[in-house]
Symmetry: C2
Subunit: 385 residues, 2 copies
């Protein structure tokens, strides 16, 4: 008998992100192939109210698709339609409704919870799926630019609690993600635009070439051209996935490959410390992507005032953000509570404060301290732009 036993193992995860159109059209067998197993598989659908409203035929289409593939999968009741946006993460009744359904329908660990909607609905449904039976298989069908290129392809879920964003959640890779481009056509302009913020983010910290591509296509993207948008989503998703898996060394020499974020570093949260706080301070009246655009503008300005990047680089970033139609300043940015966001961000990550700044376009650099007065000067400078 030794004094201790050391346990070590690695848990392998695999999932695939599919790019398709009209996922529940009778001619599209992607979904049916995906869930196919020796037995008929149970599925439970959760749909974002916003999607149900703009795609009124969706529920009937899913029903027809299920009839067509009745030897492969069955629907457990009508889809559950839930409010979209942050509201669905602020009230835990939605998680409870899904848990209740899994209980009533006998949804087991080899069945699927399928969520169709924006990032908030996917986060909420993913959390319910992750804790019932210690994890029911979960398919995400993200319908916004933001969820298709960023949150929807990752491994996190969560709801808000105690006024803190994503306070309850887990790391739980989905069984699969299906990005259906058709959902993008019905987005409001604000949502179309908001998702582009995460593209700017990933370009700024990892890929100067992609940043130049964004500058070149900013006009087309603003005019809602589908082709560049589909490339933007593909490229963002690809970088996001590489980052999570750790296969791609970043230009900044960041060590990546910490999918469950056991360390304190979180480079993909560039611009997010202020963004999270702004969302809260505006009572979620601004979209996550809009808040990230402002948060990035703030941290890029801070990087400039700190002498890390040139004025030329600062101007390029602010110009791109503005050209895409984002604000770089909202009055809430001047609230004193903004600085509390730094401590809340540290607490959520745990350990040491770690903030990503820029040392060049395409090259992030982490710091562990933020000069409060320089943050306030950055806010002042943004007000001028």
């Amino acid at each position: 008998m030794k004094k201790s036993i050391r346990q070590s193992f690695a848990v392998p995860f695999h999932y695939e992100i599919f790019f398709t159109e009209n996922v529940f059209a009778s001619s599209n067998d992607l979904f049916a192939q995906l869930v196919k197993s020796p037995q008929i598989v149970k599925t439970f659908f959760v749909i974002d109210q916003g999607v149900a409203d703009t795609h009124p035929a969706l529920t009937a289409q899913i029903q027809a698709y299920a009839d067509q593939h009745k030897d492969t999968f069955l629907l457990c009741g009508e889809p559950l339609v839930v409010s979209g946006g942050e509201q669905v993460k602020n009230d835990n009744k939605y998680v409870e409704k899904i848990l209740e359904a899994t209980h009533q329908w006998g949804i087991d660990r080899h069945a699927y919870i399928v969520a169709i909607g924006g990032g908030a609905v996917l986060d909420m449904a993913g959390f319910a799926a992750a804790i019932a039976h210690r994890g029911i298989r979960h398919i995400r069908i993200p319908t916004t630019v933001l969820s298709q290129n960023d949150s929807g392809v990752g491994v996190k879920n969560g709801i808000n609690a105690y006024g803190k964003k994503n306070y309850l959640g887990t790391f739980a890779p989905p069984a699969a993600v299906i990005n259906d481009a058709v959902f993008l056509t019905t987005l409001e302009d604000r949502d179309w635009r908001a998702g582009i913020a995460e593209a700017i983010k990933v370009a700024l910290i990892k890929d100067a070439g992609f940043f130049a591509w964004l500058e070149e296509h900013a006009g087309q993207l603003s005019a809602r051209a589908m082709e560049p948008m589909q490339y933007l989503i593909y490229r963002c998703a690809e970088m996001h996935l590489q980052h999570i898996a750790g296969s791609g060394e970043t230009q900044s020499g960041q060590t990546t490959g910490d999918p469950f974020e056991m360390g304190s570093s979180r480079p993909l949260d560039f611009g997010h410390w202020a963004a999270h706080k702004l969302e809260q301070l505006t009572h979620y009246q601004i979209r996550h992507g809009e808040a990230v655009a402002i948060g990035m503008a703030l941290d890029v300005t801070y990087s400039y005032l700190k002498g890390m990047i040139s004025e030329e680089s600062l101007k390029r970033v602010i110009q791109l953000i503005s050209k895409l139609g984002f604000e770089v300043y909202v009055p809430a940015l001047s609230k004193q509570e903004l600085l509390l966001g730094l401590e809340e961000f540290r607490e959520h990550l745990g350990g040491q404060l770690t903030i990503m700044l820029l040392e060049a376009i395409g090259k992030g650099k982490e710091v562990h301290e933020m000069d409060r007065s320089l943050v306030l000067s950055s806010v002042e400078k943004l007000k001028e732009f």
Copy 2:
């Protein structure tokens, strides 16, 4: 742009199980060394009421230990004392109390929730730790034989919901486990004995030599000799950990190494389908270990009636179980609802029904069908013993 992007990664987990005595004695620096980091670490303690009652000095001892090591860690408030036993998993108010405390004390992902108690308290506290901030570090200090040799060293947590055991939970490896032998000295006889059931289980399905050792030491174990009990716990924990990590091929040729149980196989749940149902049917008046002893007696008898093991083997098993002081029959076993346990067990695992039976002492064999009438005959046979 391809039609899909495949994501693959493995998440490494490491933790250590320590064997010690008097973990919070001033002379024992194990705990302080374990949590030591460059900063002073926050800790929040959760203590099983039963442990607090039998170790009335414990809270003061922890406080003194924290004072002694105040440069290493700090206590966030008084320890939270919670009911022990299944009750703590049946009411989600306990999870909420812990979550509330993490919010109030700003417990972050690099801080620790330390739970001291039996398996139920560890399961409940582990669940709270797993979902706050997507996972706060969690140290388990199991105080019963059962939790020290089985549940406490594994990767699961959970609470009950909708009348179903462990309906809500996650797979979340602990930061560390500390098995303190002193806690065993104050156990009630029932709890001392109950934990031995999991030792019989692991011996039956994996290690005939250990089964023979149990036969040889049954008298001493019943008489509460500490030395064989410490060996029993060490050996069970070792096999349990090997099973989870998959480093040890079992004698039955079982493929192991599925820590988060993505497949349908769960060999360590030998005897558990009936056990879970019996616990529920008796309103948790019988201990988990007592239920497992009966559940194993049932499945061993079934294995005999199915012609898989000899009458000699059956007798050895029933004799050992009885010699250790367990019942092999309770009236609830004859309830019709018992058979519902098979479907509930399948649902919890998901996929195909998979039940471990025996083909020899030390050699489990999985089957995917159970003959209902033979189960009832097994019950009748147990009634006779």
